[in-house]
Symmetry: C2
Subunit: 211 residues, 2 copies
């Protein structure tokens, strides 16, 4: 849906089920996000097929974190398969991120919310945001589990760069709070795909956030 701000994290690993859930929720989504377990289980064709079946943008959540040449090789195959956006880590440095950005729209991880993120990632979030401001990617990833961090990220980030927030729903983040804090898009996974009626669950969240 053109005005939706909802991204479905399609973290199910059976091709048929993945396609069913995507189709039954598509009208309430802005985009579908796939990650490595689904890609290695179903092949890159899952991206092409998802786009055909739903007409929605597909975000490949690869968390790319390799040297520029390897990032480039991976990204070229995934963009060729039809991915519209690739998520890459900023902490491997600007050359590695640029290698992805030269091939297509890129979303940079500037913060993560699991406990281990406090060790190395969170201490450099400010510098990762600066990196994003210099490079001008499509967007950055900042977790919805802490709305004050979404607000902070938004305040430091150049206008035009989108803030995309996972962690809504089962992980405890509130969609409304994340959007109020400045998120442009929220990513919801289990609260939709583990629901008995994913279409209904997606509709409820879509309406809740005033899509």
């Amino acid at each position: 849906m053109g005005n939706s701000r909802l991204i479905l994290a399609l973290d199910v690993y059976e091709l048929k089920k993945a396609l069913e859930i995507a189709e039954s929720t598509a009208e309430y989504l802005w985009a579908v996000k796939v990650n490595w377990p689904l890609i290695i289980g179903s092949g890159l064709e899952i991206i092409t097929e998802l786009k055909e079946r739903t007409g929605l943008p597909v975000i490949a959540d690869l968390k790319l974190a390799d040297i520029p040449n390897t990032n480039r090789l991976i990204a070229s195959k995934v963009f060729e398969a039809g991915a519209d956006y690739i998520i890459a880590h900023g902490f491997v440095g600007r050359d590695s991120v640029k290698a992805v950005m030269e091939l297509g729209k890129t979303i940079i991880v500037v913060e993560m919310s699991h406990p281990g993120a406090e060790e190395f990632i969170q201490p450099v979030t400010d510098r990762l945001i600066e990196l994003a401001n210099e490079l001008g990617p499509f967007g950055v990833i900042a977790p919805a589990t802490r709305p004050e961090r979404v607000r902070y990220t938004r305040s430091k980030l150049m206008p035009g760069i989108k803030v995309i927030t996972p962690g809504v729903g089962v992980q405890g983040g509130s969609a409304r709070e994340a959007l109020n804090a400045g998120a442009d898009y929220i990513i919801v996974g289990r609260a939709i795909y583990e629901s008995e009626n994913p279409g209904k669950a997606a509709k409820r969240i879509y309406e809740e956030i005033g899509g």
Copy 2:
């Protein structure tokens, strides 16, 4: 070969060619390293097939850098396919690394050598080495392009944890120097697989390093 210290970085993306090169070089290798472009091009079966054809350990160079649950999901599929070792980033924190270590033998990235690594990775290499010392993985990755850094890493690392060094050959690192500096295994890619006779090239390096 049991006493070899040579790892082939099999960065070719055609299944048939990959298997041919692996078979023609196997007798000079300790292990074969595969990365994402080959896995997404050929499917996870490439790992199973490589093991069957060569009898060598397979290292999956995934540079895993996600939250613990996603790292776990990816690692479980790749270990199930027959990978003996998985390469994961330390940068995402100990919980993410532990999620991989609980499933199988793990190699932690503590340093990288591309220019962008100077921004965020190299400043925390000491702490990434400490992390490895606490967790006790199979080994760590430290680039051969700077032997003094291999020596430094070895000096800080607990005995028993292996030092594995990419960057030998076309990237400029010397195999002999890397081993003298304390590397346990060296990773060679293009100098072998781009050679007209990969078997001969692997043999030459194997003999050069006194395998």
